[in-house]
Amino acid sequence: MKSHVWRPLFVVLGLVAGILLFRAYYVPGTFGSGEYGFMYSYHNKENLEYWKNQPVRYRDTGKQKMHEYCGECHAEEVEVRTEDMHGIIACENCHGPALKHPDEPHMLFVDRGRDVCLRCHTQLPYTTSERKRIPGIDSNEHNPGLACVDCHNPHNPRLEDM
C-alpha cells in the first residue's frame, strides 16, 4: 500500500499512544471506582479525606443534647425553657455555632434581631400547614422598631409569664 495511507495512520497511532502516555502520567494512581462501579464512582479515592476533614462548626444541641452539654454551665437557662414551646429549638440556632465554646469563642454572638423571631412568627394565612399552631404577628404593625426580646423572654415565651 502507498505511503499516503500509512502516514496518517501512523500519526493517529502516535497521537493515541501519546494521549495514553500523558494520561498514565497525569492521572494519579489513587483513581478507582467503588461499590457503584465505573459509571457512578470513578474518582480519586484520596478526596474522601478532604470531605471528612472539613471543619465542624455546630455542636449538636438538639432537644436532648442541650441538656447534656449546654446545661452543664447554663443549667438555669436550659431549665427555664418550656419543653413544649421553644424547647424544641436548638440553642445554636440563635446563639451561633458553639463547637469550641467556651474556649474559642469565649462569648457567643447572640442573634437578638426581630428577623430571628419572624422566621416562625410572621402571620401567614396558611391554615393547612403547621403555621396554624404558631402565633403570628404582622411585623409592620406589632411594635415596629422594638426588639422582640425587649418584652418577650425567648427561653420562656409564655405570655402569662411575661
Binding site: 480519586n44 449538636d60 445554636e92 419572624l118 422566621r119 410572621t122
Partner: protein, 258 residues
C-alpha cells in the same frame, strides 16, 4: 475408542466445561461484607411539620462556608400556595435563608412580588429540599473527568481539586441540587455534611430543624427508627420517573412537588 467411552467422556467434558470459573472460587465472607458496606445514608423529610423557618438553610450555609450573600444554596425550602380559584404559586426567596417573612409570593426578577388575598388561599405548605443522593445519579455519570462520584456509603461528592467547572453535572441534575460555587469556582452540592456524619454527628440541617421535619438514617440498619418509618410508612421520592433512585424520602408529597 469405543462409541460408549466416547459418549461418556464427551458428556463429562461438556459438564465440566459448563461449570463457571466463579463457582470454583473460594468466597471470603469478609470480602462479601466489604462489598456490601453496613452504611448507606438516606434522608427523610416530613412536609407536614415544616413551617418554613429556614433555620436549616442558615445552619447549612454556616457549616459549609457557602456565602450568605450569594443566591446559591445546598439546601432550600419551597413554599406552595394553592388558591381557591385554582392557581398554584411556588417560591423560595433566597432559598429561604431568612425564612418566609412575607406573605407576598416571589415570582422572580421579571414579575416581582404578588400579594395573595388571605381569603383566597386554599391550601399552603412548605417543602424542604436538598440533594437526593440518588443511587443511580445522573450527575456523576456525565462528569467528563471523574471529579464527582458516589461513595461506598451512598453520598454523592465533588472532588474540588479535579473539577474543571464545566457545569455539565449542574445541567444533568433533575432536581437542581447543584450550583457553581462562587468562591471555589467548581460545582458544589450537599455533602450530607460528610465531615459530620462520619464523626457520628447529625447533619447541620437536621440539628437545626426545631420541628423534626428533617431526619437522617442508615437505611441498611433496619432497627434505626427512621429506617423503620421509610420501610413501613407511605413515603415518596421526587421525580421517580427519571430513574435516578433518590435516597431522600418525603412524607406528604403533592403531585405539584417535583
Amino acid at each position: 475408542m469405543k462409541r460408549r467411552d466416547f459418549m461418556k467422556s464427551t458428556i463429562i467434558a461438556i459438564a465440566g466445561a459448563s461449570v463457571p470459573l466463579s463457582a470454583l472460587e473460594f468466597i471470603d465472607p469478609k470480602e462479601v461484607l466489604a462489598a456490601n458496606p453496613e452504611i448507606h445514608w438516606a434522608f427523610l423529610i416530613n412536609t407536614y411539620t415544616c413551617v418554613g423557618c429556614g433555620f436549616c438553610v442558615k445552619a447549612c450555609k454556616t457549616e459549609n462556608d457557602v456565602p450568605f450573600e450569594a443566591n446559591v444554596s445546598r439546601t432550600w425550602v419551597e413554599r406552595y400556595v394553592y388558591t381557591k380559584d385554582d392557581r398554584r404559586y411556588i417560591d423560595s426567596p433566597q432559598a429561604a435563608l431568612y425564612g418566609f417573612t412575607e406573605s407576598k409570593i416571589d415570582l422572580g426578577a421579571r414579575l416581582g412580588f404578588k400579594e395573595i388575598d388571605p381569603d383566597n388561599v386554599g391550601k399552603a405548605f412548605f417543602v424542604p429540599k436538598l440533594c437526593n443522593h440518588c443511587a443511580a445519579p445522573s450527575c456523576t455519570q456525565v462528569c467528563p473527568v471523574g471529579a464527582t462520584y458516589k461513595t461506598d456509603d451512598g453520598v454523592v461528592l465533588v472532588d474540588r481539586s479535579w473539577c474543571i467547572g464545566c457545569g455539565y453535572c449542574i445541567m444533568a441534575c433533575p432536581f437542581g441540587a447543584r450550583y457553581f460555587h462562587p468562591v471555589h469556582h467548581v460545582a458544589d452540592k450537599c455533602t450530607f455534611c460528610y465531615h459530620r456524619i462520619t464523626k457520628g454527628l447529625e447533619t447541620a440541617c437536621v440539628n437545626a430543624c426545631p420541628f423534626g421535619a428533617r431526619k437522617m438514617c442508615n437505611i441498611r440498619d433496619i432497627n434505626d427508627p427512621i429506617t423503620k418509618i421509610i420501610l413501613n410508612d407511605r413515603v415518596g421520592v421526587l421525580k421517580d420517573e427519571f430513574g435516578t433512585k433518590p435516597q431522600a424520602f418525603y412524607i406528604g408529597l403533592a403531585s405539584e412537588v417535583r
